[in-house]
Amino acid sequence: MAATIVETNTKPFNRVQVDPITLDIVENALRNARTEMDAVLFRTAMSPGIREQHDAFPMIANQEGKMVVGQFGSFLYGFINGYDGTIEDGDIFITNDPYSCNGAVSHLNDWLLMMPIFHEGKLVSWAAMFGHMTDVGGKVPGSLPTDAKMIFEEGIIIPPTKIYRKGQLADEILNILLHNTRMPEWNKSDFFAIIAALRLAERRVRENIDRFGADYYISAMWDMLDRNRAAMSAIIQMIIPEAVDGKKASFEDWIDDDGMGNGPYKIACSLHREGEIAYFDFSESDPQSFSSINFLLNEEMFKMFFGAFTINLFDPQILFNDGFYDLIEVHIPEGCILKPKKPAALSCRTHMLGRIFDLMGGLLGQGAPDALNAAGFSDSPHFMYSGFNTQGEWYQLFQIGFGGVPGRPAGDGPDGHSMWPAFTNVPNEFLEAYFPLRIREYATIPDSGGAGLHRGGNGIVIAYEMMEKGEISIHDDRWLTYPWGVNGGEPGMRSTKRLVRKTGEEENIPSKCDRVAVEPGDMLYFNTWGGGGWGDPLARDAELVAMDVKRGLVTPEGARRYGVVIEDGEVDTRATRKLREKMAADQVKPLFNRGFESIEELKGRCKKETGFEPPVAPVFRRFAQAAE
């Protein structure tokens, strides 16, 4: 059942010839509009997640719902086709249900708002934006329970709903939503901040139509979609070799565990090209999990990841959009960990979402080794801390961690940075001012970046000292498998979590855990992982290695991984030459260095290296779709 679009003006648009200059001007105008949407949101939102960390994403689409500017587009088309109701001037839709928008948002914390833009009685564009709400109810503060077995444990589910009807706010519905969260004031302000950003997009779109005329504006959007398609067609042919004799590239990677003792879970993809079309096939991936690590991956969104990832190399100024989607076929089987069936829990999809990028890099790099990056900080791990303080007041923190960007053809990976667009860390002084904790250390971890001609970025250590009795939850990964190196580069260091009790007891705690009780004075060392190295470490300039040692990014011992011997802070040239010769003789330079031979081999040394028993191979079961 497709939505009924109510237009008072039914005259169709004419596709007109738009000269290239006007086209570039419309492109710039839309680019500016998107920047403005962000600016408005960040200034008016209240939750640190949106305000400081920028976990929110805007887009503008054409009247058919195809994203013309933005980063996470493509869901509108599905929404328009699936929504059973009218779409009218003044309506704004809200949803957070991954299952009713085909994964446009991938967990309940993301509230997605969609607004049709009308001009003189005709639908001319869409604006949409989603933002991560600190809390949407459910069984744990922050609404991200690793051990949830069903989505119903993860908070209030909002199917696509008119939250504004013909310009009128449905305040009773909003009230219901806000009554189901632990942080209603933050949600409310963030909600209105998103609305403000959408209204701004609406103004900009109307201004453009006034300036150029509706036919020109609509045609320019079509042209921009076509332009992307042409560019992406060239890129696809450049970097994906045509399948000869049915030969396909394939790659696999893992999520270490599901927080319930099972793992690792495999995601695998094959890639080949036939003529103009690229085929991605995820059939070899594991089935869905019982815990919340499932990731409902929208096929269109995967195409967008692919496009954004590759086009940056060729024309970073381009306004990236949906135009090329028919050039790519994506197959994800139902019931797979990337397309779980309802009511599978989804809240902790962050690991899988990040890992998709490593997978894609490994896959594409086989066709274009010059563009191959190592594995990076493919995650947005969570740290949560909440409870009632000594005055009996509720506090609740949700924070995202950052780690090592991998070594790349372009150079070394930055240390402790984000691979996710727009994200920033929350200043520690802000945290100490507003939450009962102290950050005793905030530093890069020497040697955590993989050795290579281009060094992998280091992970970081955050030492949280808790000041109140409460509970912490951690959702991280890569504690077992390594961020792999490429072209001779070495893997980066794994993540670890260590809890040092005030009493002096120390324990390594699991990478995924919920509701661990803490006491004032307890200290958590949240160590993220490093990026993999790129290229032969023995080829790295020894002086550069010595500089890294002076900067504390590599230890003298770690310098030996590069075959560099440091004496009193300087390169020992003779010893270095000798060591490098010796290492070169034994060197194998695999395209991918995962740091293990097989999952079994890795599990065999798990306990010794990490202190934890290896996860148990998951046993899969068939799921039937739950009744709607």
Binding site: A231, E432, Y442
Partner: protein, 731 residues
Amino acid sequence: MNSTDDLIKRYEDRLAAFEARLRRMEAGTGPVPQLRSQARAGGGLRLGVDVGGTFTDLLLLDEKNGRTFTAKVPSTPSDSSIGVLNGIEKICREAGIEPREITEVMHGTTVATNTVLTSSGALVGLVTTKGYRDVLQIARSYVPGGLGGWVIWNKSAPLAPLEYTIEAEERMDANGTAIVPLDEKAIRKSLKSLLNSGIEALTIALFNSYANDAHELRIAEIAREIAPDIPVSTSASIMPEMYEYERTETTVVNSYVRPVVSKYVSNLQKELQQRMGDVMLQILRSDGGLSSAQLAMDQPVNLLMSGPAGGVSGALWIAKQADVKNLLTFDMGGTSTDVALIENSIARTRRETRVADVTVRAPSIDVRTVGAGGGSIAYVPELTKALRVGPQSAGAVPGPSAYNKGGEQPTVTDANVVLGYLPSDAKLGGDMEISRDLAVKSVSGIADALSISVEEAAEGIIKIVNENMCGALRLVSVEQGYDPREFALMGFGGAGPLHVNALAKLINSWPAIIPPGPGVLCAYGDATTRLRNEASQTFVTRISDTSDRKIGDMLEALQKSAAEALSEEGVAPEEQDAFYQIDIRYRGQGMKLTINISPEDFARDGLAGVAERFDKEHEQLFTFALDADHELVGLRTVVQGAEKSFIAPGRGKAGTDASGARVQSTKLYTDGKWRDAHIYDRGKLNPGNRIDGPAVLTEMDSTSLILHDHVGIVDPVGNVLIWPANHKNAR
């Protein structure tokens, strides 16, 4: 009350506690309110000096009779004070005065900016709290460029290199309590080796020092004992605010530019005093205020936008003479364009300053810079066949193709030459020849790639670069909730007058104004800056928890102390005017808005009036207002000296006929075809003259373009005001 309200209440209490500590801290380390500028009584000769990349511009004002003199001399980049002194000699000669008659020199300088842009600052050492050595290395973890941006982004090394960063064993908590005392013995030892390692400046930026900077100050003392000649900057004195990365970076940038700026300012001051005796040198700050020479040397991070601030101040002053209160300014140079917004004769300011990829928390006029200028290079990426202009620039060397200095890539200037806007027989403030043939040759490359004519390609380049600048104008106007149709647009700088008409058309801002001497406008700004002083206090409280009377008393006290300082500088009380600025937000929000309100309006409307104005502005900016509680964040009183008017002696009102200024006829390509036009000598135009477009006006250092269907009218001050031909003001 639910738990969220409790939580927010608790935040608020803690925030209030910080602010209280902040006040105590300020009280301990410096006077509150702080004297933000110094000046002395007028009456003598004031000299404005602006040092640009190519030229040093000077403007001499005689306050007694309002006469002005201007001069332009080549800049001397190796030591810009030489150019300044040459210029002073020249202008004194022309004005027939002795240098000693000049009592005040106001100077806008780009020396701090250039130090950052050319990476030629000091080697900076950094002291952080233990555990925070990597504060600049990690920064805010932000990677620019959107999804997949990390694939090509390389982070530049911190301005304080990690190998010159040490940690101090000490720790303040968020309340300003020392939870780990400073280990003086250990830090003295580490400082000894750091200070002997070749560093040229030292920054001390400790965690939570905004709440208590005792340890920072103590470490600074120890550093001075060890190495008295190495300048030390402490973070809480440069930026007494929360956010450790921003505070550290801002203070490191201060250290980075400090030796260069200090050397420059102290040399200049010495040289000036030798020639002029007891002259007062003042430096224009990024926020448009004036700084004493000493403060400029101690806190040069406040000068990063000194140059553009001069332009905005100049535009502001000229606009006042022309009775224009609301305008957008647009200063287009060779590699970049600066735009700003002036509302009600006040330039909008913001809390941060950006130069290249360096962002610091220092107040500045809200000038947005886009990498679009006369030298911006046009190109067509093979893959997308889009026409892109900039941000790469041909710079001064090799420069645009038309300059025949070896440049081969097509630039905006070349496009202007192709279209006849920049006549190939006009001079560019010097002896630069312009070759149309070379311009055509380079633009042909674009034309071929797009399969269009060379004129169409050139017009395309102009349109794209105008669009880029339009984007910047939107950022300062529409994004802030202003409608550009309610503003005039003033274009200056080398290339501004060529583009201002087209831009005004794009954003519907009329009139387009080309000021007299568009190339020396910054010097006007330097010379005419009003004496200004402000006193401020952070005061965080919910409006419902305080009273009109209490806030009114605090504001009055602030006004009194700000006014006293100004009186001491020789501005009589009757020549002063004051207004209040109140920082306010919805509690829970991170940002705040500043509401300007006169003492009379505050007395009448009280805090309810302030809240109402805030709601209105919030709605204007963000399209919504909340029913949440209002929270005051800070109070400020600004006291200004009286405005002085220096109307250039008019040449009398002439008739509308401008034909006497015609130099020759020419052809211009606009909107797809060649049109007949005239070239005018601007120096021969008189107030009242009307110039029908299309037309080109030439003068010593600038060329202006009036498009067809537009009319330029010379106003009594010498501005050319451009209106659409069918506009009521054009008839």
